[in-house]
């Protein structure tokens, strides 16, 4: 099973993609998945301090578990309105 990672705005521009499929590893958390994404796309590292995370469309914390098949969104600071 994979985890789907969604990128938006400047992250999508920098990574050159809006969507990354990454292999699930037992015990995965938001933090561990995010770290593997950053290893594959080191250009995203500088964004990390400001990111929020959403798992299946709900905000979650870095320590929260990520089940296989989940969708994890990396959310840069929002600027809607």
């Amino acid at each position: 099973m994979n985890v789907t990672v969604l990128l938006f705005a400047s992250l999508a521009d920098r990574a050159g993609t809006r969507r990354i499929e990454i292999g699930y590893e037992p015990g995965d958390t938001v933090r561990s998945v995010c770290e593997r994404v950053m290893e594959a796309h080191p250009a995203l590292l500088s964004f990390k301090p400001a990111l929020l995370y959403a798992l299946n469309e709900e905000y979650v914390r870095p320590g929260d578990p990520v089940p296989p098949g989940a969708t994890l969104a990396l959310i840069p600071p929002v600027s809607g309105g």
């Binding site: 705005a9 400047s10 309105g81």
Partner: protein, 146 residues
């Protein structure tokens, strides 16, 4: 409740109609519109991007919370995405209430929460470049960090 993220133009008449009620004595409407300048720079147009499904979910949560907090009767929240020209409406809110105070206090609270929590991003496009605006004051910060 009318909650929508859409690429189509936002229509205040639709939002107002959706919150109408015989018990309502006041309807408050807010339009966020594209301004021709930001922090001293001339803006040519904006591009809004949303995490659509999550944005609608968070907008609905905020609307429900506003309804309880301010005893609103009806609440509509619409956000537009894609390319927007100067003067076009990016955010449209309409709320109805028994009395007028709630329409101002509730509206202000709603807009603030939407700007804090809804996963939407805007890119400013100038004549000579463009930049994703991330966070309320990010123009300077992102530049410094890049």
């Amino acid at each position: 409740m009318l909650i929508r993220v859409t690429g189509d133009p936002l229509d205040p008449a639709e939002a107002i109609a959706s919150v109408g009620s015989p018990e309502a004595g006041a309807i408050g409407v807010f339009l966020g519109v594209v301004r021709n300048n930001n922090q001293g720079r001339a803006v040519d147009h904006l591009v809004y991007e949303a995490y659509d499904a999550m944005a609608e979910r968070v907008m609905r949560e905020i609307a429900e919370e506003a309804r309880e907090r301010f005893e609103l009767i009806g609440c509509a929240v619409l956000h537009r995405t894609g390319r927007l020209e100067i003067g076009e409406t990016s955010l449209l809110i309409a709320i109805s209430s028994g009395h007028r105070a709630a329409s101002f206090e509730g509206g202000h609270w709603l807009v603030n929460e939407i700007k804090k929590r809804v996963p939407v991003w805007k890119k400013e496009v100038w004549e000579d470049g463009e930049e994703w605006i991330e966070g309320p004051e990010s123009l300077g910060k992102t530049r410094a960090g890049m």
